[in-house]
Protein backbone atom coordinates (compact mmCIF):
# COMPACT_ATOMS: atom_id res chain seq x y z
CA UNK A 1 0.00 0.00 0.00
CA UNK A 2 1.34 3.45 -0.88
CA UNK A 3 2.28 5.82 1.92
CA UNK A 4 -0.04 8.75 2.58
CA UNK A 5 2.26 11.14 4.42
CA UNK A 6 5.44 11.77 6.25
CA UNK A 7 6.36 12.40 9.89
CA UNK A 8 7.20 16.11 10.39
CA UNK A 9 7.14 16.21 14.20
CA UNK A 10 7.81 13.26 16.44
CA UNK A 11 7.53 12.52 20.13
CA UNK A 12 6.98 9.50 22.35
CA UNK A 13 3.23 9.86 22.73
CA UNK A 14 2.26 11.52 19.46
CA UNK A 15 3.56 12.52 16.06
CA UNK A 16 2.43 14.89 13.30
CA UNK A 17 2.41 13.76 9.67
CA UNK A 18 2.02 15.88 6.55
CA UNK A 19 -0.20 14.55 3.74
CA UNK A 20 1.10 14.66 0.18
CA UNK A 21 -2.20 16.06 -1.04
CA UNK A 22 -3.90 19.16 0.34
CA UNK A 23 -7.32 18.43 1.86
CA UNK A 24 -6.54 14.73 2.01
CA UNK A 25 -5.86 12.74 5.17
CA UNK A 26 -6.74 9.41 6.78
CA UNK A 27 -10.11 9.86 8.55
CA UNK A 28 -10.40 10.68 12.23
CA UNK A 29 -9.87 7.56 14.30
CA UNK A 30 -8.00 5.59 11.59
CA UNK A 31 -5.07 3.38 12.47
CA UNK A 32 -1.80 4.37 10.78
CA UNK A 33 1.74 3.02 11.09
CA UNK A 34 5.31 4.19 10.66
CA UNK A 35 8.68 2.50 11.10
CA UNK A 36 11.24 3.14 13.80
CA UNK A 37 14.24 1.97 11.83
CA UNK A 38 16.74 2.22 14.65
CA UNK A 39 14.71 -0.22 16.74
CA UNK A 40 13.44 -2.22 13.79
CA UNK A 41 9.84 -1.84 14.95
CA UNK A 42 6.55 -0.68 13.49
CA UNK A 43 4.75 2.02 15.46
CA UNK A 44 0.95 2.17 15.44
CA UNK A 45 -1.08 5.30 16.04
CA UNK A 46 -4.61 6.65 15.80
CA UNK A 47 -5.45 9.86 13.90
CA UNK A 48 -6.69 12.35 16.51
CA UNK A 49 -6.86 15.60 14.52
CA UNK A 50 -6.60 16.83 10.91
CA UNK A 51 -5.79 20.37 9.88
CA UNK A 52 -5.10 22.36 6.72
CA UNK A 53 -3.09 25.55 7.15
CA UNK A 54 -1.16 28.02 4.94
CA UNK A 55 2.40 26.93 4.10
CA UNK A 56 3.48 30.47 4.91
CA UNK A 57 1.85 31.45 8.21
CA UNK A 58 2.34 35.14 7.44
CA UNK A 59 0.00 34.92 4.42
CA UNK A 60 -3.60 34.99 5.48
CA UNK A 61 -5.95 33.33 2.96
CA UNK A 62 -8.73 35.51 1.54
CA UNK A 63 -12.18 34.48 0.33
CA UNK A 64 -12.20 34.11 -3.48
CA UNK A 65 -15.50 32.64 -4.51
CA UNK A 66 -18.07 35.41 -4.64
CA UNK A 67 -18.79 34.59 -8.28
CA UNK A 68 -18.08 30.86 -8.04
CA UNK A 69 -20.62 28.04 -7.82
CA UNK A 70 -18.33 25.49 -6.18
CA UNK A 71 -14.88 24.82 -4.80
CA UNK A 72 -13.91 23.37 -8.19
CA UNK A 73 -14.76 26.74 -9.79
CA UNK A 74 -12.45 28.55 -7.38
CA UNK A 75 -9.57 26.16 -8.03
CA UNK A 76 -10.07 26.50 -11.78
CA UNK A 77 -9.81 30.29 -11.45
CA UNK A 78 -6.87 30.15 -9.01
CA UNK A 79 -4.94 26.93 -9.63
CA UNK A 80 -2.08 28.09 -7.40
CA UNK A 81 -4.22 27.97 -4.25
CA UNK A 82 -3.73 24.26 -3.57
CA UNK A 83 0.05 24.81 -3.66
CA UNK A 84 -0.14 27.32 -0.80
CA UNK A 85 -1.55 25.03 1.88
CA UNK A 86 -0.63 21.86 3.60
CA UNK A 87 -2.73 19.25 5.33
CA UNK A 88 -1.32 17.52 8.35
CA UNK A 89 -2.70 15.07 10.87
CA UNK A 90 -1.89 14.34 14.49
CA UNK A 91 -1.37 10.76 15.52
CA UNK A 92 -1.59 9.36 19.06
CA UNK A 93 0.82 6.44 19.50
CA UNK A 94 -1.09 3.37 20.75
CA UNK A 95 1.42 0.57 20.40
CA UNK A 96 4.09 -1.07 18.33
CA UNK A 97 5.10 -4.33 16.77
CA UNK A 98 8.43 -6.13 16.97
CA UNK A 99 8.56 -9.12 14.66
CA UNK A 100 5.19 -10.84 14.96
CA UNK A 101 4.54 -9.57 18.49
CA UNK A 102 2.18 -6.63 18.93
CA UNK A 103 2.61 -4.53 22.08
CA UNK A 104 -0.13 -2.23 23.27
CA UNK A 105 2.16 0.16 25.07
CA UNK A 106 4.48 2.99 24.02
CA UNK A 107 7.51 2.12 21.90
CA UNK A 108 11.02 2.79 23.27
CA UNK A 109 11.60 5.46 20.61
CA UNK A 110 9.23 7.51 18.43
CA UNK A 111 9.37 7.23 14.62
CA UNK A 112 12.21 9.13 12.96
CA UNK A 113 11.24 12.50 11.47
CA UNK A 114 10.42 12.19 7.72
CA UNK A 115 9.57 8.51 8.23
CA UNK A 116 6.82 7.46 5.79
CA UNK A 117 3.31 7.03 7.19
CA UNK A 118 0.94 4.30 5.93
CA UNK A 119 -2.74 3.79 6.51
CA UNK A 120 -3.39 0.32 8.00
CA UNK A 121 -5.49 -2.16 6.04
CA UNK A 122 -8.67 -3.67 7.53
CA UNK A 123 -6.66 -6.83 8.33
CA UNK A 124 -4.05 -4.83 10.23
CA UNK A 125 -6.77 -2.95 12.12
CA UNK A 126 -8.46 -6.23 13.03
CA UNK A 127 -5.18 -7.76 14.23
CA UNK A 128 -4.20 -4.72 16.25
CA UNK A 129 -7.59 -4.16 17.88
CA UNK A 130 -8.12 -7.82 18.74
CA UNK A 131 -6.64 -7.05 22.15
CA UNK A 132 -8.07 -3.89 23.72
CA UNK A 133 -5.02 -3.13 25.86
CA UNK A 134 -4.46 0.15 23.99
CA UNK A 135 -7.58 1.74 25.49
CA UNK A 136 -5.80 3.49 28.41
CA UNK A 137 -3.33 5.14 25.98
CA UNK A 138 -6.16 6.57 23.88
CA UNK A 139 -8.04 7.76 26.96
CA UNK A 140 -5.16 9.92 28.11
CA UNK A 141 -4.56 11.71 24.79
CA UNK A 142 -4.73 15.48 24.87
CA UNK A 143 -5.28 18.12 22.22
CA UNK A 144 -7.49 18.23 19.12
CA UNK A 145 -11.07 16.96 19.21
CA UNK A 146 -12.25 15.36 22.46
CA UNK A 147 -10.65 12.12 23.52
CA UNK A 148 -14.13 10.61 23.57
CA UNK A 149 -14.69 11.47 19.89
CA UNK A 150 -11.39 9.95 18.81
CA UNK A 151 -11.80 6.82 20.90
CA UNK A 152 -15.34 6.21 19.66
CA UNK A 153 -14.30 6.85 16.03
CA UNK A 154 -11.47 4.33 16.37
CA UNK A 155 -13.68 1.68 18.00
CA UNK A 156 -16.32 2.01 15.26
CA UNK A 157 -13.65 1.51 12.60
CA UNK A 158 -12.14 -1.38 14.55
CA UNK A 159 -15.59 -2.98 14.90
CA UNK A 160 -16.07 -2.75 11.11
CA UNK A 161 -12.68 -4.41 10.60
CA UNK A 162 -13.57 -7.20 13.08
CA UNK A 163 -16.91 -7.71 11.36
CA UNK A 164 -15.13 -8.09 8.00
CA UNK A 165 -13.08 -10.84 9.64
CA UNK A 166 -16.27 -12.71 10.58
CA UNK A 167 -16.57 -11.60 14.22
CA UNK A 168 -19.67 -9.70 15.20
CA UNK A 169 -19.48 -5.89 15.02
CA UNK A 170 -21.86 -5.57 17.93
CA UNK A 171 -20.02 -8.19 20.00
CA UNK A 172 -16.78 -6.25 19.60
CA UNK A 173 -18.38 -2.94 20.63
CA UNK A 174 -20.01 -4.55 23.69
CA UNK A 175 -16.67 -6.06 24.71
CA UNK A 176 -14.95 -2.65 24.27
CA UNK A 177 -17.67 -0.98 26.34
CA UNK A 178 -17.12 -3.46 29.13
CA UNK A 179 -13.38 -2.79 29.11
CA UNK A 180 -14.07 0.94 29.38
CA UNK A 181 -16.19 0.62 32.55
CA UNK A 182 -13.32 0.02 35.03
CA UNK A 183 -11.07 2.48 33.18
CA UNK A 184 -13.61 5.26 33.62
CA UNK A 185 -14.65 4.48 37.17
CA UNK A 186 -16.00 7.67 38.72
CA UNK A 187 -16.35 9.28 35.26
CA UNK A 188 -19.82 8.07 34.39
CA UNK A 189 -20.62 11.07 32.17
CA UNK A 190 -17.53 10.45 30.08
CA UNK A 191 -18.30 6.75 29.85
CA UNK A 192 -21.87 7.46 28.75
CA UNK A 193 -20.59 9.96 26.16
CA UNK A 194 -18.37 7.33 24.59
CA UNK A 195 -20.92 4.53 24.74
CA UNK A 196 -23.52 6.74 23.05
CA UNK A 197 -21.16 7.16 20.11
CA UNK A 198 -20.51 3.44 19.63
CA UNK A 199 -23.15 2.84 16.99
Amino acid sequence: MAHIGEVIESSTERFVAQSYEVNSAPPLGSLVRAQQEGEGITIYGVVTNIETTPLDPSRRPVARGRDAASLADIIKEHPQLMELFRTSFDVAVVGHQRGEQVYQHLPPLPPEVHQLVFQCSADEVATFSHDLGFLPLLLTQHGGPGTEEVLAAFLRRAADAQAAGGDGRQAFLVQAGKRLVPLLRGESVRLATILAKLR
Partner: protein
Amino acid sequence: MSLDIVQVAPQLEHMLTALKEGVAQRDAQLSRVRGATIPLPDGAHDLHLDLAFEAAETPADFVVLATDGSQIDIDRHAPASYYLINVGEVFLRYGSVPGARLSNRPSAKLSDESLISQDAYPDEAIEEQDRVIVALERAVAELDGLLALVRSSDTTVPTLALMDGTLVLWTFGEERFKPRVGTYIKEYEASLRAIRELAVHRPLSLASYISYPGSNEIARTVKLHDLLDRQLFGELLRQPGQRSHVFVSDSQMQKNLGEEGPAHFFYMNAGPEIGRIEVPPWVAKDPQRLSFVHAAVFDQCRRNFGYPVALMEAHEQAVVSEADRQAFRRLVEQGLASEKLASGESMKSWSKRVPWA
Protein backbone atom coordinates in the same frame (compact mmCIF):
# COMPACT_ATOMS: atom_id res chain seq x y z
CA MET B 1 19.54 53.79 20.58
CA SER B 2 15.87 54.23 20.01
CA LEU B 3 14.61 56.94 17.67
CA ASP B 4 13.80 60.32 19.26
CA ILE B 5 10.26 60.60 17.92
CA VAL B 6 9.76 64.03 19.52
CA GLN B 7 12.45 65.47 17.27
CA VAL B 8 11.09 63.71 14.20
CA ALA B 9 7.45 64.84 14.51
CA PRO B 10 7.93 68.51 13.48
CA GLN B 11 10.06 67.40 10.51
CA LEU B 12 7.16 65.24 9.34
CA GLU B 13 4.99 68.34 9.16
CA HIS B 14 7.44 69.99 6.77
CA MET B 15 7.44 66.86 4.64
CA LEU B 16 3.64 66.84 4.49
CA THR B 17 3.47 70.52 3.53
CA ALA B 18 5.93 69.98 0.69
CA LEU B 19 3.95 66.95 -0.47
CA LYS B 20 0.70 68.93 -0.45
CA GLU B 21 2.25 71.62 -2.65
CA GLY B 22 3.39 68.95 -5.09
CA VAL B 23 -0.08 67.44 -5.24
CA ALA B 24 -1.63 70.87 -5.87
CA GLN B 25 0.72 71.50 -8.79
CA ARG B 26 -0.04 68.10 -10.24
CA ASP B 27 -3.78 68.64 -9.92
CA ALA B 28 -3.47 71.93 -11.77
CA GLN B 29 -1.79 70.12 -14.66
CA LEU B 30 -4.27 67.24 -14.55
CA SER B 31 -7.21 69.66 -14.78
CA ARG B 32 -5.71 70.90 -18.05
CA VAL B 33 -5.53 67.35 -19.38
CA ARG B 34 -9.05 66.47 -18.27
CA GLY B 35 -11.57 66.82 -21.07
CA ALA B 36 -9.12 68.68 -23.27
CA THR B 37 -7.02 67.46 -26.15
CA ILE B 38 -3.42 67.50 -25.07
CA PRO B 39 -1.49 69.74 -27.47
CA LEU B 40 1.20 67.55 -28.96
CA PRO B 41 4.53 69.20 -29.70
CA ASP B 42 5.97 68.95 -33.21
CA GLY B 43 7.19 65.46 -33.97
CA ALA B 44 5.12 63.91 -31.19
CA HIS B 45 1.95 63.34 -33.23
CA ASP B 46 2.56 59.60 -33.44
CA LEU B 47 2.00 59.38 -29.66
CA HIS B 48 -1.76 58.85 -30.18
CA LEU B 49 -2.66 59.74 -26.62
CA ASP B 50 -6.34 59.69 -27.55
CA LEU B 51 -6.34 55.96 -28.20
CA ALA B 52 -7.57 53.44 -25.62
CA PHE B 53 -7.79 49.72 -26.45
CA GLU B 54 -10.08 47.29 -24.65
CA ALA B 55 -8.64 44.01 -23.41
CA ALA B 56 -9.61 40.97 -25.51
CA GLU B 57 -10.83 37.72 -23.96
CA THR B 58 -8.09 35.31 -22.95
CA PRO B 59 -7.89 32.05 -24.93
CA ALA B 60 -9.79 29.07 -23.48
CA ASP B 61 -6.50 27.46 -22.46
CA PHE B 62 -3.33 29.36 -21.69
CA VAL B 63 -0.24 29.32 -19.50
CA VAL B 64 1.44 32.08 -17.51
CA LEU B 65 5.09 31.66 -16.51
CA ALA B 66 6.90 34.07 -14.21
CA THR B 67 10.14 34.43 -12.29
CA ASP B 68 11.33 36.85 -9.66
CA GLY B 69 14.47 36.94 -7.59
CA SER B 70 15.90 38.02 -4.30
CA GLN B 71 19.44 38.24 -3.04
CA ILE B 72 21.59 38.02 0.07
CA ASP B 73 24.24 40.65 -0.50
CA ILE B 74 27.93 40.30 0.07
CA ASP B 75 28.91 41.27 3.60
CA ARG B 76 32.36 42.82 3.48
CA HIS B 77 32.72 42.22 7.21
CA ALA B 78 32.04 38.49 6.99
CA PRO B 79 34.98 36.07 7.02
CA ALA B 80 34.43 35.34 3.31
CA SER B 81 32.83 37.16 0.39
CA TYR B 82 29.78 35.21 -0.65
CA TYR B 83 26.27 35.95 -1.80
CA LEU B 84 23.07 34.16 -2.62
CA ILE B 85 20.52 34.57 -5.38
CA ASN B 86 17.14 32.91 -5.05
CA VAL B 87 14.89 32.74 -8.11
CA GLY B 88 11.19 31.99 -7.60
CA GLU B 89 9.58 30.16 -10.52
CA VAL B 90 5.87 29.95 -11.24
CA PHE B 91 3.89 27.93 -13.77
CA LEU B 92 0.14 28.56 -13.93
CA ARG B 93 -2.19 26.90 -16.37
CA TYR B 94 -5.77 28.01 -16.89
CA GLY B 95 -8.64 26.43 -18.80
CA SER B 96 -9.49 22.77 -19.30
CA VAL B 97 -6.50 21.40 -17.34
CA PRO B 98 -5.88 23.95 -14.58
CA GLY B 99 -2.65 23.48 -12.68
CA ALA B 100 0.16 25.22 -10.85
CA ARG B 101 3.80 24.61 -10.01
CA LEU B 102 5.57 26.92 -7.56
CA SER B 103 9.25 26.44 -6.79
CA ASN B 104 12.46 28.28 -6.14
CA ARG B 105 16.10 27.81 -7.07
CA PRO B 106 18.76 29.20 -4.75
CA SER B 107 22.38 29.53 -5.82
CA ALA B 108 25.11 30.44 -3.37
CA LYS B 109 28.36 31.82 -4.78
CA LEU B 110 31.70 33.14 -3.75
CA SER B 111 32.39 36.60 -5.08
CA ASP B 112 35.31 37.10 -7.37
CA GLU B 113 37.42 39.43 -5.29
CA SER B 114 40.00 40.01 -7.96
CA LEU B 115 37.50 42.18 -9.83
CA ILE B 116 36.91 44.42 -6.91
CA SER B 117 40.08 46.22 -6.03
CA GLN B 118 39.51 47.71 -2.63
CA ASP B 119 42.35 50.24 -2.89
CA ALA B 120 41.40 53.87 -2.66
CA TYR B 121 37.66 53.29 -2.38
CA PRO B 122 35.65 53.86 0.78
CA ASP B 123 33.82 50.82 2.21
CA GLU B 124 30.42 52.26 1.33
CA ALA B 125 31.33 52.62 -2.35
CA ILE B 126 32.53 49.01 -2.52
CA GLU B 127 29.41 47.74 -0.79
CA GLU B 128 27.21 49.68 -3.18
CA GLN B 129 29.06 48.27 -6.19
CA ASP B 130 28.79 44.75 -4.77
CA ARG B 131 25.04 45.19 -4.46
CA VAL B 132 24.67 46.41 -8.01
CA ILE B 133 26.77 43.56 -9.39
CA VAL B 134 24.73 40.96 -7.47
CA ALA B 135 21.51 42.65 -8.63
CA LEU B 136 22.69 42.41 -12.24
CA GLU B 137 23.51 38.74 -11.84
CA ARG B 138 20.11 38.25 -10.27
CA ALA B 139 18.37 39.90 -13.26
CA VAL B 140 20.29 37.54 -15.57
CA ALA B 141 19.28 34.57 -13.38
CA GLU B 142 15.60 35.64 -13.44
CA LEU B 143 15.50 35.74 -17.24
CA ASP B 144 17.45 32.50 -17.42
CA GLY B 145 14.91 30.88 -15.08
CA LEU B 146 12.08 32.16 -17.27
CA LEU B 147 13.75 30.65 -20.34
CA ALA B 148 14.01 27.30 -18.52
CA LEU B 149 10.30 27.47 -17.65
CA VAL B 150 9.46 28.24 -21.29
CA ARG B 151 11.54 25.27 -22.46
CA SER B 152 9.80 22.87 -20.08
CA SER B 153 6.21 23.88 -20.78
CA ASP B 154 3.69 22.69 -23.36
CA THR B 155 4.55 24.19 -26.77
CA THR B 156 1.01 24.09 -28.14
CA VAL B 157 -0.72 26.27 -25.53
CA PRO B 158 -0.65 30.10 -25.72
CA THR B 159 1.96 31.12 -23.15
CA LEU B 160 2.86 34.40 -21.49
CA ALA B 161 6.37 34.59 -20.00
CA LEU B 162 6.23 37.42 -17.49
CA MET B 163 8.99 39.26 -15.67
CA ASP B 164 8.80 41.68 -12.79
CA GLY B 165 9.89 45.27 -13.45
CA THR B 166 11.55 46.52 -16.58
CA LEU B 167 12.61 44.34 -19.47
CA VAL B 168 15.80 46.34 -19.74
CA LEU B 169 18.95 45.34 -17.89
CA TRP B 170 20.01 48.34 -15.82
CA THR B 171 23.75 48.87 -15.62
CA PHE B 172 26.05 51.54 -14.37
CA GLY B 173 28.98 53.14 -16.08
CA GLU B 174 31.95 52.28 -13.88
CA GLU B 175 34.85 51.71 -16.23
CA ARG B 176 36.54 48.97 -14.21
CA PHE B 177 33.46 46.74 -14.13
CA LYS B 178 33.11 46.80 -17.90
CA PRO B 179 34.22 43.22 -18.60
CA ARG B 180 31.92 41.72 -15.98
CA VAL B 181 28.94 43.93 -16.85
CA GLY B 182 29.58 43.19 -20.51
CA THR B 183 29.29 39.47 -19.76
CA TYR B 184 25.94 39.97 -18.01
CA ILE B 185 24.61 42.05 -20.90
CA LYS B 186 25.61 39.31 -23.35
CA GLU B 187 23.99 36.58 -21.24
CA TYR B 188 20.80 38.59 -20.82
CA GLU B 189 20.62 39.33 -24.53
CA ALA B 190 21.26 35.66 -25.33
CA SER B 191 18.30 34.58 -23.14
CA LEU B 192 16.06 37.20 -24.80
CA ARG B 193 17.14 35.89 -28.19
CA ALA B 194 16.52 32.28 -27.15
CA ILE B 195 12.97 33.14 -26.06
CA ARG B 196 12.33 35.01 -29.33
CA GLU B 197 13.61 32.06 -31.35
CA LEU B 198 11.44 29.59 -29.43
CA ALA B 199 8.47 31.87 -30.11
CA VAL B 200 8.92 31.44 -33.86
CA HIS B 201 7.46 27.94 -33.58
CA ARG B 202 4.97 28.33 -30.76
CA PRO B 203 2.35 30.78 -29.43
CA LEU B 204 4.69 32.39 -26.91
CA SER B 205 4.93 36.02 -25.77
CA LEU B 206 7.34 37.80 -23.45
CA ALA B 207 6.46 40.82 -21.30
CA SER B 208 7.37 42.53 -18.07
CA TYR B 209 5.07 44.31 -15.66
CA ILE B 210 5.80 47.44 -13.64
CA SER B 211 3.43 48.29 -10.81
CA TYR B 212 3.23 51.96 -9.75
CA PRO B 213 5.59 53.00 -12.58
CA GLY B 214 7.69 56.07 -11.83
CA SER B 215 8.65 57.05 -15.37
CA ASN B 216 7.59 60.23 -17.15
CA GLU B 217 8.74 59.49 -20.70
CA ILE B 218 5.39 60.38 -22.26
CA ALA B 219 4.38 63.19 -19.88
CA ARG B 220 7.75 64.82 -20.50
CA THR B 221 7.36 64.54 -24.27
CA VAL B 222 4.03 66.38 -24.14
CA LYS B 223 5.53 68.97 -21.78
CA LEU B 224 3.53 68.01 -18.70
CA HIS B 225 6.63 68.22 -16.57
CA ASP B 226 5.03 67.85 -13.15
CA LEU B 227 3.21 64.67 -14.09
CA LEU B 228 4.23 61.05 -14.13
CA ASP B 229 3.01 58.82 -16.94
CA ARG B 230 0.81 56.86 -14.55
CA GLN B 231 -0.98 60.07 -13.54
CA LEU B 232 -1.43 61.13 -17.16
CA PHE B 233 -2.79 57.72 -18.18
CA GLY B 234 -4.95 57.57 -15.09
CA GLU B 235 -6.91 60.33 -16.84
CA LEU B 236 -6.80 58.78 -20.29
CA LEU B 237 -7.58 55.13 -19.48
CA ARG B 238 -10.78 55.31 -17.45
CA GLN B 239 -11.96 51.69 -17.63
CA PRO B 240 -10.21 48.67 -16.07
CA GLY B 241 -8.49 46.65 -18.80
CA GLN B 242 -7.99 49.55 -21.21
CA ARG B 243 -4.50 50.01 -22.55
CA SER B 244 -2.73 52.88 -24.26
CA HIS B 245 -1.08 52.99 -27.64
CA VAL B 246 2.28 51.16 -27.77
CA PHE B 247 5.31 53.44 -27.41
CA VAL B 248 9.01 52.87 -27.96
CA SER B 249 11.33 53.61 -25.10
CA ASP B 250 14.22 55.90 -25.83
CA SER B 251 16.06 55.54 -22.53
CA GLN B 252 19.84 55.27 -22.65
CA MET B 253 19.71 51.77 -21.17
CA GLN B 254 17.98 50.42 -24.29
CA LYS B 255 21.41 49.85 -25.80
CA ASN B 256 21.87 47.02 -23.29
CA LEU B 257 19.23 45.01 -25.15
CA GLY B 258 21.35 45.10 -28.33
CA GLU B 259 19.53 43.47 -31.23
CA GLU B 260 16.72 42.35 -28.90
CA GLY B 261 15.63 45.92 -28.21
CA PRO B 262 14.45 48.54 -27.91
CA ALA B 263 11.73 47.70 -25.39
CA HIS B 264 8.24 48.85 -26.35
CA PHE B 265 5.70 49.68 -23.67
CA PHE B 266 2.10 50.53 -23.01
CA TYR B 267 0.14 51.57 -19.97
CA MET B 268 -2.89 49.65 -18.76
CA ASN B 269 -5.64 50.33 -16.27
CA ALA B 270 -5.10 47.31 -14.00
CA GLY B 271 -8.09 48.16 -11.82
CA PRO B 272 -6.73 49.86 -8.72
CA GLU B 273 -3.77 51.42 -10.56
CA ILE B 274 -2.13 52.15 -13.88
CA GLY B 275 0.54 49.55 -14.69
CA ARG B 276 3.26 49.67 -17.32
CA ILE B 277 3.86 46.66 -19.54
CA GLU B 278 7.07 46.33 -21.50
CA VAL B 279 7.46 44.00 -24.47
CA PRO B 280 10.26 43.23 -26.94
CA PRO B 281 9.82 44.45 -30.55
CA TRP B 282 8.70 41.03 -31.84
CA VAL B 283 5.72 41.12 -29.47
CA ALA B 284 4.92 44.80 -30.05
CA LYS B 285 4.80 44.32 -33.83
CA ASP B 286 2.65 41.19 -33.81
CA PRO B 287 -1.00 42.21 -33.21
CA GLN B 288 -1.94 38.70 -32.08
CA ARG B 289 0.83 38.43 -29.49
CA LEU B 290 0.28 42.00 -28.32
CA SER B 291 -3.42 41.36 -27.84
CA PHE B 292 -2.66 38.16 -25.90
CA VAL B 293 -0.17 39.95 -23.61
CA HIS B 294 -2.73 42.67 -22.94
CA ALA B 295 -5.53 40.19 -22.25
CA ALA B 296 -3.43 37.81 -20.14
CA VAL B 297 -1.80 40.50 -17.98
CA PHE B 298 -5.16 42.12 -17.31
CA ASP B 299 -6.64 38.72 -16.53
CA GLN B 300 -3.77 38.11 -14.07
CA CYS B 301 -4.54 41.44 -12.37
CA ARG B 302 -8.28 40.74 -12.33
CA ARG B 303 -7.72 37.42 -10.55
CA ASN B 304 -5.54 38.96 -7.87
CA PHE B 305 -6.87 42.32 -6.68
CA GLY B 306 -4.97 44.35 -9.28
CA TYR B 307 -1.53 42.75 -9.42
CA PRO B 308 -0.48 39.77 -11.59
CA VAL B 309 -0.91 36.61 -9.54
CA ALA B 310 2.07 34.89 -11.20
CA LEU B 311 4.39 37.74 -10.17
CA MET B 312 3.08 37.76 -6.63
CA GLU B 313 3.65 34.03 -6.24
CA ALA B 314 7.09 34.24 -7.89
CA HIS B 315 8.02 36.92 -5.38
CA GLU B 316 6.69 34.83 -2.50
CA GLN B 317 8.78 31.91 -3.71
CA ALA B 318 11.91 34.04 -4.05
CA VAL B 319 11.78 36.00 -0.84
CA VAL B 320 14.33 35.00 1.79
CA SER B 321 13.17 35.67 5.34
CA GLU B 322 15.41 37.27 7.93
CA ALA B 323 15.52 33.94 9.80
CA ASP B 324 16.62 32.13 6.63
CA ARG B 325 19.25 34.80 5.96
CA GLN B 326 20.72 34.23 9.38
CA ALA B 327 20.52 30.45 8.98
CA PHE B 328 22.33 30.73 5.64
CA ARG B 329 25.10 32.89 7.12
CA ARG B 330 25.53 30.48 10.04
CA LEU B 331 25.72 27.54 7.66
CA VAL B 332 28.44 29.20 5.58
CA GLU B 333 30.40 30.29 8.61
CA GLN B 334 30.20 26.84 10.21
CA GLY B 335 31.44 25.38 6.92
CA LEU B 336 34.30 27.86 6.80
CA ALA B 337 35.20 27.16 10.40
CA SER B 338 35.13 23.37 10.02
CA GLU B 339 37.42 23.62 7.00
CA LYS B 340 39.63 26.01 8.96
CA LEU B 341 39.05 28.69 6.33
CA ALA B 342 37.55 31.27 8.62
CA SER B 343 39.64 34.31 9.21
CA GLY B 344 37.11 35.61 11.72
CA GLU B 345 34.53 38.31 11.22
CA SER B 346 35.27 41.99 11.65
CA MET B 347 34.82 43.69 14.99
CA LYS B 348 32.27 46.02 13.38
CA SER B 349 30.11 43.09 12.35
CA TRP B 350 30.49 41.44 15.76
CA SER B 351 29.50 44.67 17.51
CA LYS B 352 26.31 44.87 15.44
CA ARG B 353 25.31 41.32 16.21
CA VAL B 354 26.12 41.38 19.90
CA PRO B 355 25.96 45.04 20.90
CA TRP B 356 27.72 45.73 24.16
CA ALA B 357 27.34 48.59 26.60
